[in-house]
Amino acid sequence: MAILTPNRLVPLVAFILAWVATYMAIQMGKQGKIKIRRMPALDAIEEIVGRSVEMGRPVFDIIGMGTFTDLYATQTIAGLSILSYVSTLCARLGAKLYAPQASVDVLPVAAEIVTTSYRMEGKLEELDVEEQLPYLSGTQFAWASGIIGMAARLKPAGNIMIGPFWAESMMFAETFDRIGAMQIGGTARLYQIPFFAALCDYVLIGEEMFAAGAYVSGDLQQIGSIAAQDWYKIAALALGILGALLATAGVTIIGDLLLM
C-alpha cells in the first residue's frame, strides 16, 4: 500500500479505533451504562469537612493557578468539580469554606459554582464570596505567599488541593501540615505528586483526579471519555501480558505486530 506510511499501520488502526471508542463511550455514558468507581479520596473529603465542623475551623479548597485556555484546563475543570462537591458539603454541614483564586478567568466560574452549592443547600446567607473566594495574584510567588499568609491567619482544619500545581505545591503542603490541617492533594502534573504523597492524608495521582472530578460532577461526556481510555488501558494490559508470556515462550508475534 503505497499511500500509507510504512510501519505505521498499527498506530493508524489504533488511532481510528480511538475515534470510534470515544464516540461509543460517550454515547454509552449518556445512556447511563457506565459507572465510575468511587474514590476513597471522596470519603476523605467528607471526613475533612466533618472534622472542621467539630473543631470549628475553616476548610480550604485550592484549585491551583491554571486557566481555561492553557494546557492544564482539564485539570482546572476537575478541580472545579471537586470544589462544587466540597462547597456543597461545607454548606450542608456548616463548615466555613475558603477557596482563594489565582486566575481572573476562573474566578467568576468558581464563584458561581460555590454560590450555587450554597443556594441549593439553602444557606446562601452564610456565604460571602468576596471574603471566601478572594483573588490573590496571578504571579506564582505572590500567589504562594498569599496562600501561606491566609493559612497562618485562619488556621484551617482541612485543606483540599486538586488542580494543576507547580513549584508552590511543596510550600502549600508543608504550611498546612505545620498548622495541623488534614490534607488531600491531587494533580496530573506528575513532578509535583511526590510532595503531595509525602504530606497529604490522601493523594490523587494523575488521572485519578479526572475520574474523581467526573464522579462528583456526573458529567456524562467526561464519564464517557474516561471509559474510552479504560478500554485502551485494558487492551494495553491484555496485549502486554499476552505478548510478554508468548515472547517468553519464544513467540514474538505480538511485539512484531505492534511494530507493523
Binding site: I3, T5, F68, A167, E174, A198, V203, E207
Partner: protein, 210 residues
C-alpha cells in the same frame, strides 16, 4: 451556521486532520499542504507571543493610572522594564543579537531567570526535612526510594561505597521504568482521547466565552 463558533470548529478539525494524514499517508499533496500549515503555525505562534504583554499592559496600566493600590509603583516599574527590552531590541534593528541587548539580558533577565526557581533549593532542604517522613505505609514507600536516590546522587557516598551508585542506577532501572511506562501509556491515551474530542468539537474550552 454560526460563524462565531462553527467556522472555528471547522478550522480546528480540518487543520488537525491534515496533520494526522500527513503522519499516516505518503500523499505528496498532504505533505505539501501540511508544510504550509506548519510555516503558518510558526508565524501565528510568533504573533501570539505578544498576547501576554497586552495582558500585562491592561492589568498594570490600569493600576498605574488609578494609583489606588499601594504597589502601583511596582506596576510602573514592570512596564518600564518591558518597554526597555522592546526599545533596545527594536531600536538597534538587530533584535536579540546586538551587544546592547545582550548586556541588558545578562544584567537583568539571566540572573532573575536563573535564581527565581533555583532559590527553591533552600526551601527544598527545609521541605525535605519536613516532608520526607515515613509517617505511614505509602509515605514510607516514597521515603525509601527518595533517600536511596539522594544518597546515590551525592557524589561523596558513591565515592566511598560504589554500590550505593549502582543501587541508584538500579532504582532507575526496573522500578522507575515499570511504573512510569504504565503511567506513560495512560497519559498518552488520555491525551489522544482529549485531542479527538477537541478536533470533533466536543471540547471547546479554547473558544472562550459563548
Amino acid at each position: 451556521m454560526d460563524y462565531r463558533r462553527d467556522i472555528p470548529l471547522a478550522i480546528t478539525f480540518l487543520v488537525g486532520i491534515v496533520a494526522v494524514l500527513d503522519y499516516y499517508t505518503t500523499l505528496e499533496s498532504v505533505t505539501n499542504t501540511f508544510t504550509v500549515i506548519k510555516n503558518w503555525g510558526v508565524v501565528l505562534q510568533a504573533f501570539a507571543l505578544g498576547l501576554g504583554a497586552v495582558n500585562l499592559f491592561r492589568v498594570h496600566g490600569k493600576r498605574l493610572s488609578e494609583r489606588t493600590r499601594e504597589d502601583w509603583m511596582f506596576s510602573g516599574w514592570l512596564l518600564l522594564m518591558m518597554v526597555l527590552f522592546v526599545v533596545v531590541g527594536l531600536g538597534t534593528g538587530k533584535y536579540d543579537t546586538s551587544t546592547q541587548y545582550n548586556w541588558i539580558y545578562q544584567a537583568l533577565y539571566l540572573p532573575l531567570g536563573a535564581t527565581m526557581y533555583s532559590s527553591l533549593a533552600f526551601y527544598m532542604a527545609y521541605g525535605s526535612y519536613k516532608v520526607l517522613r515515613a509517617r505511614n505505609f505509602e509515605a514510607a514507600l516514597l521515603f525509601i526510594t527518595a533517600v536511596l536516590v539522594i544518597i546515590g546522587n551525592t557524589p561523596i557516598f558513591p565515592a566511598t561505597f560504589p554500590g550505593l551508585f549502582h543501587l541508584r542506577e538500579w532504582i532507575f532501572g526496573p522500578i522507575v521504568s515499570g511504573a512510569y511506562r504504565g503511567i506513560r501509556i495512560g497519559v498518552g491515551i488520555g491525551a489522544v482521547v482529549l485531542g479527538i474530542k477537541t478536533l470533533v468539537g466536543l471540547e471547546t474550552g479554547y473558544l472562550g466565552r459563548r
